[in-house]
Symmetry: C2
């Protein structure tokens, strides 16, 4: 059983019922939840003032010895404001000495990539308190896979897609696409060569996803990777104006333009069903033209 | 009277009535409009296939000697796809020999900044055929100011805002904020030091505008400028969730974070009333604490 500390560096948790349900579920499973006041904390659209949310981050440097999981309450917007003010040297020193499982996604991606870049700390892109653990119906796969990913030093994912066959290995990194792209040019985007980049987003029209992926391409970031894995991209409705342009059409353009293999269809992102991926871990990816198999290792696990 | 060539490197012109009205208005004012087929051209959500839209751009290298204005039909999405395929060396050679007035905004910003970066060509961020000249009610100021900006080698703009006093000079550049930010890391964002950066956007919530401006800050681009001028930022509705967070709150944060003066309120962007600004021209900006005055010079004008 774990001591789970909540962290809320992003948006105010408008769905308080979901957050309470998430806490209850985790407690029912035998875990202890600390820093619950982060759930109700609010300043404007944020989960507290910049100072309060920054303190949540800096608290990672002085976790109680029993705390083995740090869980983001939700996404939204707010992490970007904190990036400049984080004491990475203090955090890096403390977290390298003892790294808890730090898990979240969406807006939290900015913090995760900054910790990876500045401190070399692996965090997990996976479920959050309100959206996943607090969902009206808990997704069983999401729950099971989370506990597996943070407990097993090596685990394997497989999914179907029709990309050409390939076999590569490298550092797994990525997260929310809009957040990752918002770090281009900043000191908080990891300079990873030969990596396996995994991205997802929600409520972004395929043309916006295309523009973001083209920016990664134009900035020379994609060509330095060995594979691009696409997670969930949902939440928009196509209309008459699109006239046949859709996510698949976009993928065809990417396949033409990019030299790196593009593998869509990983259940990773804002959907109820999502895998948990350690950003900064080692990945071995084999695709036979029909099934992708990704083996993940090199991340720390809970005791 | 001018020979105006239309150009459509972005989205399909869904409002054909507006485009026809724009053509009629320009013709009524005595101008000739060529390449009208660009208005009705369509592939999916684009104003033609990538090849057709790219040909519109390359045609800038072989304009007829009488053509003195090139006008974008509308924005949307599509320019980003073309950036890699443009022959900048051919365009630069032809356009430096004889530079027409090239005008547009929104998605067209990507082409404009690429031409400035790769060819050193000044283009005008201003009205387009459908949205401005084809508006149900033509904005008189927009119309008058366009003809003034492209005919007078020096012109002056003034507007009200409450920023602290400042007096600076430098290269005027910018355009649509989302498009400009989408070029960070690419070879098409001009490396301008000591510039006056002018940005605008539509349908972007203040938190998204904040995130984009913070990216410019984090990437070190803002601190190399002498001033940041904010144009129109409209099109979103604030809700209960924002709880007091709005555009002005965002501006307060920017003023705290940025060392560069931030001057809001220039009528520049997607609104009916917009000024025409030559990107790459020389600007002298004086602000007395209540009124901003921007003198613009160094751009080419029509005969």
């Amino acid at each position: 059983m774990s001591l789970i500390r909540l962290i809320a560096p992003s948006g105010y948790c408008v769905n308080q019922t979901a957050a309470a349900r998430g806490i209850q579920r985790l407690q029912d499973a035998g875990h202890q939840i600390e820093h619950q006041q982060a759930v109700t904390r609010r300043f404007q659209r944020f989960a507290g003032t910049d100072e309060e949310r920054l303190a949540d981050i800096h608290q990672l440097a002085s976790l109680s010895p029993e705390c083995d999981i740090v869980l983001a309450v939700r996404g939204g917007y707010g992490a970007t404001r904190l990036l400049e003010q984080i004491d990475y040297s203090r955090l890096g020193h403390a977290l390298r000495a003892r790294t808890p499982v730090i898990c979240g996604h969406s807006d939290f991606t900015a913090i995760q990539l900054a910790l990876l870049t500045q401190c070399g700390i692996i965090t997990f892109s996976g479920p959050m308190l309100a959206g996943n653990f607090g969902a009206e119906t808990l997704d069983d796969y999401t729950w099971q896979h989370f506990w597996k990913a943070i407990a097993q030093p090596r685990f394997t994912l497989s999914w179907q897609n029709a990309a050409p066959a390939c076999s590569v290995s490298g550092t797994i990194w990525g997260g929310n696409l809009a957040m990752l792209v918002s770090l281009i040019g900043s000191p908080w985007l990891p300079a990873i060569d030969g990596g396996i980049l995994v991205v997802e987003d929600i409520n972004e029209h395929p043309f916006r996803v295309e523009r973001m992926l083209l920016q990664l391409h134009h900035a020379g970031i994609l060509r330095r990777q060995k594979a691009l894995i696409l997670g969930s991209f949902n939440g928009t409705t196509l209309g008459d104006y699109d006239a046949g342009y859709d996510f698949n059409e976009m993928c065809s353009l990417l396949a033409e333009r990019f030299s790196v293999p593009v593998l869509p269809g990983l259940p990773f992102g804002h959907e109820p069903q999502t895998v948990t991926l350690p950003l900064g871990a080692f990945g071995e990816l084999k695709h036979d033209g029909g099934t992708s198999v990704l083996s993940v290792s090199g991340h720390h696990v809970i005791r």
